[in-house]
């Protein structure tokens, strides 16, 4: 584990992508095949099955550290990571060992079959021979969420360097439903018939936010415009008579959207469509919170299937007749896709996302202004002659989002941040006026600079009126502009509304308290955009 811990330390200590890639490539050059396979798995979101619960971990860690459980629990939100909290709290190890990464993963997997007292003894024994960094990684293997500053893309690049393979084809190879239990490093890297894995999606091509005016993109006739839908980006795959649905986060979501099983009746085999999964009211998408109700569920109750049926608004054809089309220009892929989808009946769970005609950037800007009426968050601009690239690449695909909605609100509660911002107040609750009362309506965490967070932290410390556990009620004084992407009615909230993606967009030093918005203003926004 020492080599893996050293890799982690190097990668964690630098913000430079080139250094991270170098360190990973060096690891891939020296580690055993098993350790390499597990490293690829961990950095692509695969992890061993959880052998103990986090509740057990907490209890055991508190016990070994000689502190009450509540004290560990109180430390956790401040550190921001349970694996780290435990690693930092445990007493120093009594001995040293250097067993490989795969050993510890195998050890964790073997625990599942043992009874709880034995499991506990084995975990404590592991802690007692690992240094704090190794313990952190060991705990991470149990708790999951292995986000340590290495994206799948970066890992793929390093692996491509170490094995002298083409990065794009390696990225494709690493997708799909494999696990370290079902393959070996050799098979994963060398298997000739990669297409054999019929569920394998293509790496998604991701758009950049358009910062400039669109006129900077050149002539309008080189571009295709579509609505930017507020759904889930997904690929629907039909191969060998079965179907698979992948989300952009590379999560297999086939079971969550049973509607797509019928696609086999509508579409030819050997087809992969890229598009937006949305809940469909028959004419346009439902607001995102309707879809959200479905995302959380692994199996979908009948009523929800009926009330919030999903469809794919397809905008790209990546595979047709089993042939990879990604190198064709977009307009070619698009016309092939239209030809396939054109003939489908209206009740098919897939529709071609309509392209939006425009002659000039000005007419397109007018179209964009009506996006909310179409339940869209703005526009997508795609260069007509562009191939389908992988990952986020600048140049051919842009999202041109609507400006967010905003409201000026008063800060009334503050809570200390965690992780990155453990020593600052970063989590705030905001209120609007309802007559002479301030009604809380949203929380927001992000949007301020570190310097602003430091200023507000000093202010909160001096202006606390009451404490409720970690939450401090502060003197109503500061007004912030809260930006958000959507709004909907919510009986669960005191204010009766809930916001989508709220964040602090501006500290309104210029606004006196009395000029913050009112609950009626919010209801107005709900009425227009909800």
């Amino acid at each position: 584990m020492k080599d893996f811990a050293a890799l982690f330390t190097t990668v964690d200590q630098t913000t430079k992508t080139s250094l991270k890639t170098k360190a990973l490539a060096a690891f891939f050059n020296t580690a055993s095949d098993d350790d390499k396979l597990w490293t690829i798995a961990l950095f692509s979101g695969r992890r061993p099955k959880r052998a103990v619960t986090t509740t057990q971990l907490r209890e055991w860690a508190a016990e070994v550290s000689g502190i009450p459980l509540w004290l560990l629990e109180e430390s956790y939100p401040i550190v921001g990571d349970l694996a780290e909290t435990i690693a930092l709290t445990l007493p120093p190890p009594s001995r040293e060992s250097d067993l490989p990464l795969t050993h510890w993963i195998t050890e964790l997997k073997s625990l599942a079959a043992l009874d709880i007292e034995v499991r506990k003894a084995r975990i404590l024994d592991a802690w007692d021979q690992l240094d704090p960094t190794e313990r952190f990684l060991f705990n991470k293997l149990i708790t999951g969420g292995f986000r340590i500053g290495v994206s799948q893309k970066l890992m793929t690049r390093a692996l491509a360097q170490a094995t002298q393979q083409d990065e794009a084809s390696l990225a494709h190879r690493l997708m799909g439903g494999w696990t370290p239990e079902t393959t070996t490093f050799h098979d994963l890297m060398e298997a000739e018939d990669v297409e054999a894995d019929e569920s394998r999606p293509y790496p998604f091509y991701l758009a950049y936010q358009l910062e400039d005016r669109p006129a900077a993109l050149g002539s309008p006739e080189d571009w295709q415009a579509e609505w930017k839908w507020d759904g889930i980006r997904g690929q629907v795959i039909l191969r060998n008579g079965t179907h698979h649905v992948w989300s952009r986060g590379e999560e297999l979501m086939t079971d969550r959207f049973p509607e797509f099983a019928r696609l086999i009746d509508f579409l030819p085999d050997g087809i992969v469509l890229d598009g937006e999964i949305v809940a469909w009211d028959g004419a346009q998408p439902f607001p995102f919170n309707t879809l959200q109700a479905r995302i959380g569920r692994k199996t979908v109750p009948k009523k929800l299937l009926k009330d919030a049926p999903v469809i794919l608004l397809a905008y790209d054809l990546l595979e047709h007749d089993g042939e990879d089309l990604r190198n064709l220009p977009l307009k070619e892929r698009r016309s092939r896709m239209d030809a396939v989808l054109e003939t489908l009946s209206a009740d098919a769970p897939v529709k071609a996302a309509p392209p939006l005609p425009f002659d000039t950037w000005d007419t397109l800007a007018k179209t964009r202004a009506t996006a909310r009426d179409h339940r869209a968050e703005g526009l997508m601009l795609k260069r007509k002659d562009s191939p389908y690239l992988s990952g986020r690449k600048k140049g051919d695909w842009w999202k041109w989002k609507l400006d967010p909605l905003t409201v000026d609100a008063v800060m009334i509660y503050a809570q200390q941040g965690h992780g990155r911002r453990a020593n600052l107040f970063t989590d705030f609750t905001f209120a609007v006026w309802d007559g002479n009362d301030l009604v809380p309506f949203t929380k927001a965490y992000s949007g301020l600079t570190d310097d602003e967070f430091r200023k507000i932290t000093a202010w909160v410390r001096k202006n606390t009126q009451q404490r409720f556990g970690p939450v401090r009620q502060v003197t109503p004084h500061h007004v912030f502009e809260i930006a958000f992407e959507g709004i909907h009615a919510s009986p669960r909230h005191k204010s009766g509304i809930a916001l989508r993606f709220p964040r602090m967009s501006r500290w309104r030093h210029d606004k006196p308290l009395e000029e913050a918005n009112t609950l009626d203003d919010l209801r107005e926004i709900l009425h227009s955009y909800g």
Binding site: D12, Q13, T14, T15, S65, I67, P68, W70, L71, L72, E74, S75, I78, V79, G80, D81, E84, T85, L88, T89, F136, G149, H418, G419, R420, R421, A422, N423, D450, R454, K455, T457, A458, R461, K462, T464, R467, G469, P470, R472
Partner: protein, 354 residues
Amino acid sequence: MITQHPTGDMTVLTYLCFMPNCVLTFTDRGIYCPAGDFYVDPWRPVDRALITHGHADHARPGHRRYLCTDACAPVMQHRLGNISVETVKFGETRRLGDASVSFHPAGHLPGSAQIRVEVAGEVWVASGDYKVVPDGISEPFEPVRCHSFITECTFGLPVFKWDDQSDVARDLNAWWGKNAREGKASILGAYSLGKAQRLLSMLDPEIGPILTHGAVENTNDVLRQQGYHLPDTIHVTPDLKAKDHPGALVIAPPSALGSQWGRRFGPSSTAFASGWMRLRGVRRRRAADRGFVISDHADWDGLMQAIRETNAENIYATHGYTDIFARWLNSQGYNAEVVPTEFGGEDDEAADAA
């Protein structure tokens, strides 16, 4: 427990004591001793201020008379300019009204003190900031027995535990040596009073030249004149040429890292030294190449050791995770209370540099 009674435009809050003798009280100007009519580290102007140490959140400008140790005075005068200061030696007792006061080493930085106040046999100690392990440059912490102890708890969580200074020194010098071999300057961000000098005393001057930012060097000058031993340093002046000092280590205030000032040294590796570097999240926010975990404050075990050794029954927690720390102390059989927030105000810079 807290009563509020408005007096003019200022609200005076008094922490009610259940003890027959309330030696120290908490007011909105800071810790106050009614028997001696003085304040400890007050944060609004007062007539007489007893100062534990020279950090900006403890030694503030605007008081009529200051009293501190002779070891603390030069830095304080350097920072606050023309002020009226009386000094005492560590351990010397001074009578103020009905109170006897004395100053005892806090081990936080050179010249830092805890203040012991005795009134009619009742003893209170205000710790200021402290750490219990010797650092080779500050007067080592001395436990002072008392009935009531006002303790800081900046790092009052069990996740905060410091490695031995010698281990950190080894890592620090290894980092510097590696950078020097790779032709890079090593830029180390550290608070200019205390942390910077402690780091200086940990460095191995054989590795290369040590350069200092003006804010650090000014403090060095004051401490050297007092007789504190520091390795030789070169002050970075506007006309200093970085290439004349290959393999240098540069100590500068955190704000200078990543600024125009830092760019003059060409290819460099940056590091930051603070107790907060123990947390991965804070380390990443700082976005320096390295984070060295080294603090002028006591870690969890250090706080507990200090509290034990005072033999105090009553503990007042201030500065830091006070609620959690007081709850823990109560579970351990102490009478612990949180000093209300208004009085636990931390200077952001100092809190961040801890």
